[in-house]
Symmetry: D2
Subunit: 299 residues, 4 copies
């Protein structure tokens, strides 16, 4: 616990993650583009910094939690970026969900300065961030992973070291494929049931007992029945993440047929003005194409 931790990006995910580190006793230097969350965490004991560089100057381990590849590149490699302040032997941990290709570029640039990097995207949403139960998929050197592991254990539960830099981001892309396509499958199934005059709540209950059993059916299936599309995980973020998956598939030569189809459905969902809805709102498109609505039978 001697190491000082920097945390850049205090949004919906980053703020509760940083707070958990504070609570666990870590000495924290924080930065965010807007000042509000910085001041909030400062009251709880964090040290504010005015730039990514300043964070890096004061910390041994710098965590970033940002929206997308361009922001991470800018914060780490840009003007007044982490790379200008960080010292050899220190570590950068990017917990954002970004392109594995950009990740490798950044890791290479940091390595040239004697700095080791981990890509460590998470799943589990705001709730997982608050409760410290995130799944964390990590790419980067094994020894770096082990050095950061105590920090990961404060933030999450299911922590897996996957492989070299980029491997964490590839894993996250795989996760986002399976989640989105499964939501689409559950949506098609429940709309089929509903329009066939069959209670979708009972269908869901029955399916939970067999191979179809999944957390999507459990959690998002329930959301669909309750028409609870308050996020959760926003449609526009999942659209972004499948964009990363498809770009990776293009880079390595893997055609992703169902993924590309669901990517277009998420595109349509955002075009419908539901970009801030939970991704389980994919069902609304299936409903509209079917001119029906999924409702559990009154009980």
């Amino acid at each position: 616990m001697a190491e000082r931790v920097g945390f850049i990006g205090l949004g919906i995910m980053g703020k509760p993650m940083a707070r958990n580190l504070l609570k666990a006793g870590y000495s924290l230097v924080v930065h965010n583009r807007s000042r509000g969350p910085v001041e909030e965490l400062a009251k709880e004991g964090a040290t504010p910094a005015s730039s990514p560089r300043e964070v890096a100057e004061q910390a041994e381990i710098v965590i970033t939690m940002l929206p997308d590849s361009p922001e991470v590149r800018q914060v780490i490699l840009g003007e007044n970026g982490v790379i200008e302040g960080i010292r050899p032997g220190c570590i950068v941990v990017d917990m954002s969900t970004i392109s594995p290709i950009v990740t490798k570029e950044i890791a290479a640039a940091l390595a040239a300065k004697g700095v080791s990097m981990l890509d460590a995207p998470v799943s589990g949403g705001e709730r997982g961030a608050i409760e410290g139960t995130l799944s964390i998929m990590v790419g980067g050197p094994k020894e770096t992973f082990e050095r950061v592991l105590p920090i990961f254990q404060v933030l999450g539960k299911n922590i897996v070291h996957i492989g070299e830099n980029g491997a964490g981001q590839v894993t996250k892309a795989c996760n986002q494929i399976v989640v989105a396509v499964t939501i689409q499958a559950v949506s098609e199934a429940l709309v089929l049931a509903a329009k066939s005059g069959v209670d979708p709540a009972k269908v869901r209950q029955a399916l939970l007992g067999g191979f179809a059993q999944s957390r999507i059916l459990e959690v998002h299936g329930q959301r669909i029945l309750e028409r609870n599309f308050k996020p959760g995980f926003k449609a526009r973020l999942h659209l972004k993440d499948l964009g990363i998956a498809l770009a990776t598939g293009k880079a390595v030569g893997v055609p992703l047929l169902t993924t590309s189809l669901v990517h277009e459905m998420l595109n349509a969902l955002c075009a419908a003005g539901r970009e801030e809805w939970d991704h389980s709102a994919l069902v609304t498109l299936v409903e509209e194409l079917s001119h029906t609505e999924v409702r559990a039978a009154a009980t």
Copy 2:
């Protein structure tokens, strides 16, 4: 246990199901197109019958477990069929996976003779049939369901009464949609990982911790890693089942975009001569389109 049970269709699923009823003490009359399994069960105490009609003449509850809609229609409504032998007040339970539309026709024909019907398709495969742990999705009158429930409890574990006749088959169609599309999603994800140079075994392990967590990832994901495509559930049967789902979607007006895509992939899998392979072999098409192969890293 006073009721005598008829069982028609002693294939991979039917034979162990019938055997479980025998073991549970039921008096069983059995029929099958080929004689082998009939004789086998006769040695274990079942009474052989030479036609569906003969089964119906001797039983209060007649169970059918057959390949597809035409066989069920023939066995129940055809010449020397169940309908010729069955008496008012008796029950027909079709546990095959067939069209919900055909199911309703058969139920109506039986109802005209004072016979109640349940559609009660199952999931869980040969193993579930042997171990008596099938999921059973039931459509038909509630009171008929309750009368048959003790029998279902011998055959399965997760037993849900969904609604009217056809509701069981619609539910099964929903199950087959979610299972097939999820297998395709898992296949795309694991091939993406493999061709990106990331160990797919670790990706699977990481995904099992989050929302992507599902029995597909657990069971079929493991099959993919081990290249174990011995069924399991045969590709050609899943092709048939998605055909039922799509026909139902067409009948009620629900477009099934990802389902139709995966249906075509199953079609391709059978065209490749892998119709007797496990449905998790969908991954082989993604592999071939990617010119790569999913292999867990050596350990």
Copy 3:
């Protein structure tokens, strides 16, 4: 012109086709389920018949023009059907669009009675039927084709003998694939243009000059710009035809990825209550998923 011709099925297509044969001097025996069109043609010189059998008894060449496989099977092979009245050496010409598999069954049943059959589905729509400019795709024995050719030349312009029985229907299925998928492609392109703020009329004009140039872009593209969805070719008929194509693909083992997707879109179009609209109304689904509308810029 000595041969007497029977014509069964006097719908939107059949009536003008029969009328063209009358005008060309053929002696015509006609039958239709509803009496109206029979009486109409009787006034123009045709001989009414009260059943398909009666038509067959009085004609050497019997043409059928019916909605789908079950109707053709019923009219030719059913009670009071063509097969009961037709004599050896005569010819049945089915110009309906039906399954190539059913076609082969019917051809075999007729052959057993010494009757030769042609499958001769058409394209070109009501207008082509009226003007005698249909495309006719013919399967069946070459010598039978040559004997019927003068009749085909009254009905259409582009007449191709493709191969054995079923080959005509396979060709029609291919035609319907290319037409539907191209309409979908044109729809996606024009909606993309419109929502990008680019005049779709100019886009269409530009595309007509290159490889994209097609009659779909020309005719249906214009319909889209004018929002003229009065058929033309009804969405529900195209849905039926793609169903035939997909069933054929399943029977012979050809996965039809884009076709299956467009089949589901046609399903959605019918679910939206637009089953009687022209198939170019596929664009309305792309528009709705995009929350925009294709309109040519005011001029």
Copy 4:
């Protein structure tokens, strides 16, 4: 013909285009990354320049014909780029196929220096470039279009002014959607025919008579029958172009369902090592998924 023309990018398309301008009497300044084509054209009368800036310093109208968005941005806006040498009142004409979004950025940067820009992508391939029969789709100010029109008339035949900057690129994206999806449709149709035992050459001939009639069926259909996959238009370039179309659809909110599917098929085609084959080789994937091959019947 008083205006001096600059030409940057002398590849497969650019070199014959530049040569046509020379032949038409234009005074030409040329630049290319590799020296070979520059020297070749110098022998034919062109003036070599050592950088895009140098080209711009000597020409009133500067044409660029480059692989993709990054190259165009670099050549026009980068170090030693066109923008450093060009004078107010001059014109930049980008005939590459790039993102309409990048196009607008570049047009805005040039406008700030008093320079007008046209986006003028072409279709028609190497042959159209050599023969001066390209289709040219133009975005940008009408008066600029009119000033450049005589040059366009040397290079192509079907020249359409579509709208503002970016409109040319949007139109090209639309063209590439229709072409690729139609090739996929033709591929599915011809493979269906072939595996159904029907001569695909006769199917193509029959379809050329109806609504399916298109230049794709004519030209690429013939390529498929002859298995002539020598480009023509390379698969990897069409993959790139559909990537532009999908990115545009994402930017404006238009889901492109069939386009995204065909994009993935082009991805698979490149993954199969056929990236330099003609795009009509899409059929090889349908063939492989069907375990069959399209061959015209021997004649």
